[in-house]
């Protein structure tokens, strides 16, 4: 087991196979004490980092990440909250982007988002206090 990790051969080689999957999306709704609401997405500084975040979201959309999904989304929500620490609650909305076929695109259909999960995280000024899925 250790050897396969050291050699980098622990994963399969089905890049974009058998089919190109849909891509997952995570949006945070920030709720402020005065009733304001803002939306944010996980933000990074470069396209290369963006690819990694997209990979993370695609991973946690898979069934084998069911048990970890909430934990990871809570971490991502905490990262957003650190930038907006006056928010009292963050609602994380996780979904999958449905891509149009080429024919559909020609007929004006564009990508749409399909809702999968939603999590509410309440925050105190100091640190994340509790999670309410």
């Amino acid at each position: 087991m250790t050897y396969v990790h050291l050699a980098g051969i622990e994963s399969g080689y089905g890049f974009f196979a058998p089919n190109v999957p849909g891509t997952c999306k995570l949006v945070f709704e920030l709720h402020y004490p005065d009733g304001r609401t803002e939306t944010r997405v996980p933000a990074v500084s470069s396209h290369a980092s963006g690819l990694r975040v997209a990979t993370l979201l695609d991973k946690i959309g898979r069934p084998q990440y069911d048990s970890l999904r909430e934990v990871i989304i809570k971490m991502l929500a905490s990262a957003v909250w650190r930038e907006h620490s006056d928010a009292k609650m963050i609602r994380a909305v996780f979904g999958v982007v449905t891509l149009p076929t080429a024919e559909e695109f020609e007929h004006g259909v564009r990508e749409s988002s399909e809702f999968l999960y939603s999590y509410d995280f309440a925050f105190q000024p100091d640190e994340p206090k509790q999670a309410n899925p």
Binding site: G8, P18, H47, L51, R52, A102
Partner: protein, 319 residues
Amino acid sequence: MRRSEFWKQRLIGFLFPPESDNWLALLRFGLGLQVVLYCLSIRKDWTYLLAGNGGLISRNLSERIFALESPLIPRLGWIVTLGGHFGLSEESILSVVWYCLVTAGCFLFLGLFSRAAAIATWFLHLAVLKSADLLSYGMDNLTTIGLFYLMLSPLPDRCSLDWQWRKSRSKHKDLLGFWRRVLQVHLCIIYFFGGLTKCLGNGWWDGSNIWRALIRPPSNIIDPEILIRWKDLFPIAGVFICLLETGYPFFIWGKRTRTIWFTCICAMHLAIGLTLGMYLFAFIMIVLNAAAFGAGLVSRSRTESQRKHGTGIIDRRAA
């Protein structure tokens, strides 16, 4: 008995062919550059992506998962704990790791202290990769594969500063052919199974997967309005990719087909890099292919050219 002896000799001949170190120089250059570019590509987010606390996601989560699988898999937590004994903060240690990885990559590129640089690069890259496993994708694994083989190969090569300046020589030149063969076979496995699984998806035969890959965020760097004009080419491109990948282990070995297959595979990766914005993925695949099957093509065409023009210079030291 004679038959088994014949096959044994053939197998040994296949696994341990006489080989120059051109491929190793290519692999070393390429991987050194790849690691430096990798570090630069996520420089601004390095601490944010790898922090145990206060980052995007906690590094500790991946590390705990891997610790359950094996306690011997390298991870950044080891280095952070070690640095903690010297009073260094996590942020400082992560910065030190970044500089060490860039330095090791530069040393690898130059061929200075090649073996030590290869081991350090492999270890640090693997530690970063495993600690950020949830954020890693195929390119990272392929870099690990390349670094693993490079670390075990008989360094230094003739193009390295070790050879030129330090007059350091490899003691196991007889293994040059073996490690190249391992890389070649590994690439054949990667492409064959990658291609075979693509063949099972109907989206590659009708071109819809090409379209999906190109418009899928965050790889949608080309405007779909432009892409749609080329939609008739998608099925051709899809079938071409399936055939190219599945046929790789069959056509890359033959002298007549190797140049075509090698050129097409590199062109495919270049296209992936340019159209999907996956530059590092494209680069590592081209480097691995160039080392595995391209080095011979370059030297062969050079020999032929020298023979034609009568400008061949025999390097007596190398000979």
